[in-house]
Amino acid sequence: MSTETLEQPKEAVKVPTEELFSKRRKRLVTDPLNEDNPITIQVLGICSALAVTVKMEPTLIMSIAVVFVIVFSNVIISLMRNIIPSRVRIIVQLAVVATLVTLVSEVLKAYSYDMYKVLGAFVGLIITNCIVMGRLEAFAMGNKPYDSILDGLGSGFGYAWIILAVAFFRELFGSGSVFDFKVFEAIGLDSFVTNGLMVDSIGAFMILGIIIWVQRSKTGYVEH
């Protein structure tokens, strides 16, 4: 777990007229994409990365929903950060996250019933996604709303690209398709044998492990 984000607000206070996309702010968005990725480096949100990544389509909808929930809960908590009593802050964070998740689910049910049916069980799981609570506790509680939006976007997309990558390989080798498009049949490989392991959670562990391996050999990150 990194804690460097906690120290940043002090610098921000010293520089009152910071540009809209200053170097520090760019790093808020870009860090979680690679060097400080919520899944592969902080090892948060693993549960949902295993559960929803069998196919690309639900994974994509889940990514959009998670980005939405992280960004908005970050803003709301950041706006409220000076009035939240610290003894009940976790409950307050949870209430905000749960409200947003319920709203997402209700809106999906009303206007995109097909999506709602695909995601039914998954949307509720966003509440328990450690990344959301983790960002609220580690960042939004101590930073201004605009920075919190950037941080939410960074973490959300950091989460999204990893689970989409995992889902891509799992669907490709597990079901022989990408977004339900039968890739191997399309290129004339009708006899391609799909791998049942990929449809299981074990497949997600393996692919996640390989992604972490490749990533760390490039960034040189070592856990202490």
Binding site: V52, V54, K55, P58, I83, I84, P85, S86, R87, V88, I91, V92, A95, V96, T99, T102, L103, E106, V107, K109, A110, Y111, Y113, D114, Y116, K117, G120, A121, E171, G174, S175, G196, V199
Partner: protein, 253 residues
């Protein structure tokens, strides 16, 4: 001040009111749209058991409802195959509004069984398919669907299944056209006229399927088992209705 008990209590109370109010507002405000979505979903699911799915998926909301109104007539029967027109309170029963889940929880003898009759050409008055709702338990949660029988009340014309929470990529496949098309043309009665239903086998790629068997889904044997039970239970319950239709002719029922 921010740490005092009074502040904490007031803060959480205010939060509860705001959040609760927001959610009930959203729930109230979205309810009509949700009801419409559910209605459209039910009707397109009923139609998808007899119609070309690709054509159905390109149709707009209004077109689906229009086709439904033109080609489907519905009625509700009880376990003895008698038409039920009014409930205990004397209110007229609409087949589309019969809650299959609520009825599923009752004893089979007390359930209401909707029948949706499909005619390609409404003016001819002939019935091309009988569509029956199904309800049961999959591996993780409920599964449901519709099975359409041709006018001989034996051959399956089509089926559509759906589920609440079957395993993605495995049991979830019951909701795909690939699996549902396997049921087309299968027979539910054997030569002697007794009900045998249609069974989904274990494993995938089975050879020599009889007219009462369909190929299974690998990795989803328990979902298939739930599907088989569901199909058999409901076909069983509709048996008296089938007999009545066969003996009295289509027009009266």
């Amino acid at each position: 001040m921010r740490q005092s008990n009074t502040y904490v209590l007031l803060f959480t109370a205010a939060l509860t009111v705001v959040v609760g109010g927001l959610l009930s507002l959203a729930s109230q405000g979205l309810a009509p749209a949700q009801k419409k979505s559910v209605e459209l979903d039910t009707k397109s699911q009923i139609l998808s058991s007899v119609m070309d799915r690709e054509k159905l998926s390109t149709m707009t909301r209004e077109e689906v409802l229009d086709v439904y109104d033109k080609s489907i007539t519905s009625l509700v029967v009880d376990i003895n195959g008698d038409v039920v027109e009014k409930d205990e309170k004397g209110k007229a029963i609409v087949a589309e509004e019969v809650d299959i889940l609520k009825n599923y929880k009752k004893d089979p003898a007390e359930r209401m069984y909707p029948v949706f009759k499909y005619s390609k050409d409404a003016s001819s008055g002939s019935v091309d398919a009988y569509i029956l709702p199904l309800y049961g338990a999959g591996l993780w949660d409920k599964i449901w669907g519709f099975v359409a029988l041709e006018d001989d009340l034996n051959t399956i014309a089509g089926a559509s299944f759906d589920h609440k929470a079957e395993t993605p990529g495995l049991g979830q496949r019951i909701a795909t056209a690939e699996i549902q098309n396997r049921f087309v043309g299968k027979k539910i009665f054997d030569e002697s006229g007794s009900l045998v239903s249609v069974t989904m086998l274990k494993g995938e790629g089975n050879d020599g399927l009889s007219s009462h068997e369909v190929d299974g889904m690998s990795g989803a044997t328990l979902t298939a088992r739930g599907l088989n039970d569901m199909l058999e239970n409901y076909l069983n319950s509709y048996q008296s209705y089938f007999k009545k239709v066969k003996s009295t002719g289509v027009a009266s029922l």
